[in-house]
Amino acid sequence: SSGINAEWPLRPGSFKSTKFQCFHEYIPGNKKFTLEYQVISGGHFDVDCHIMSPDSKKLYNEQRKQYDTFIHTSTEAGEYSFCFSNEFSTFAHKQVYFDLDLGEDDKASPGEQGADAHATALTQLESSAYSIHEALRLVVDYQNHHRLKERIGREIAEYLCERVQNWSIAQTVLIIIVAFGQVFILRKFFDRPMPRGTSSKVGI
């Protein structure tokens, strides 16, 4: 299948950046296409998404979704816009994975075009081969989802590992500073000259 399969980083809205990051693709008329997206890192893993048809009509508009699939058959040929926004976020940088599937095209589908046009001469072997092909496409799809899930989990785990180290070091340093600080300040209380003047100032 032809399409776009990439991950896109989105800066949070608090930084000066464009409202939406869009990508555009020419889609011929009467063509079924599927947009699938998933936020793979950042904050609450949510993003705004909208799709515009060539005549500037919003085909899809969702706020703060974590993942979604949108299937649509194009009515007119032209440039469709797929836009994502992270404007609502204060600090979190997001990374969005998206996949635009436009169905089979010439290059990747040997025999496909012929099969559609006249479905008569398909032997059992040919139709088995076709169903294997479709099943494998599903496997590749699942693998892709699995890879994304693993990536999300792994990033959290690696971040956790780093955080544990950093905070532990900071805590340890803080303990030592506070311990010495306490003693030092306490000693300072007793170093002030007493009104009675009976204390002998013997330093240690």
């Binding site: 399969n5 990439a6 991950e7 010439d106 040997p110 081969a129 496409r137 693998q143 785990a157 544990v164």
Partner: protein, 189 residues
């Protein structure tokens, strides 16, 4: 101003050169046109954030790079200067990279090796299965690294808990001894 995206690539996965084209929005004609002198800087980083490619190209061309590590590769396209699109001009970037199975041109393969439709279909299935196998192998390696990270976190939490408890005890003991000595010297005890 830049266009950055990441692609999952692997040394065992074939992919075509990145073909790109940059157009500048012409306010008068309300369309995007190619403009001489427009140049793009293409930067590609591998999953370990090492630079794999960093070159300047014209407004249209293709860039090639090799991968050594499987994972998310970061591609960044940025204009080489802001001269030719100041004042809020818009840029349009076309980018085309065929990855894995899609990098094969089956029509070409069929013509070169003189395969029938069925043979070509089987050939494609073999490529697909190959891609699936490679991805599974990648996952196996990734899972190993994930497990290593989790075990490392586990160890760190344990080690630091023990270490901090010891430090607290040592420091507490030192405090008492020090203050006792101090007060004894001050003849308050």
């Amino acid at each position: 101003l830049s266009l950055s995206l990441s692609l999952f690539l692997s040394p065992s996965l074939s992919f075509s050169p990145g073909k790109y084209k940059v157009e500048v929005h012409n306010d008068k004609t309300e369309s995007f046109v190619m403009k001489q002198g427009v140049g793009m800087h293409v930067e590609v980083k591998d999953p370990d954030k090492n630079q794999v490619l960093s070159k300047y190209y014209a407004y249209e061309g293709q860039f090639v790079f090799t991968t050594h590590t499987p994972g998310e590769h970061y591609i960044c396209l940025s204009p080489n200067s802001t001269r030719w699109f100041s004042g809020g001009n818009r840029l349009r970037v076309h980018l085309n990279i065929d990855v894995g199975e899609h990098a094969n041109d089956y029509k070409q393969i069929q013509a070169k090796e003189k395969l029938s439709e069925l043979q070509l279909r089987v050939r494609q299935l073999v490529e697909q299965v190959d891609q699936i196998t490679k991805e599974q192998n990648y996952q196996r390696i990734r899972e190993e690294r994930f497990r290593f990270t989790s075990e490392s976190t586990n160890q760190r939490v344990l080690w630091w808990a023990v270490a901090q408890t010891c430090i607290l005890l040592i420091v507490g003991y030192w405090q008492m001894r020090h203050l006792k000595g101090f007060f004894e010297a001050k003849k308050l005890v």
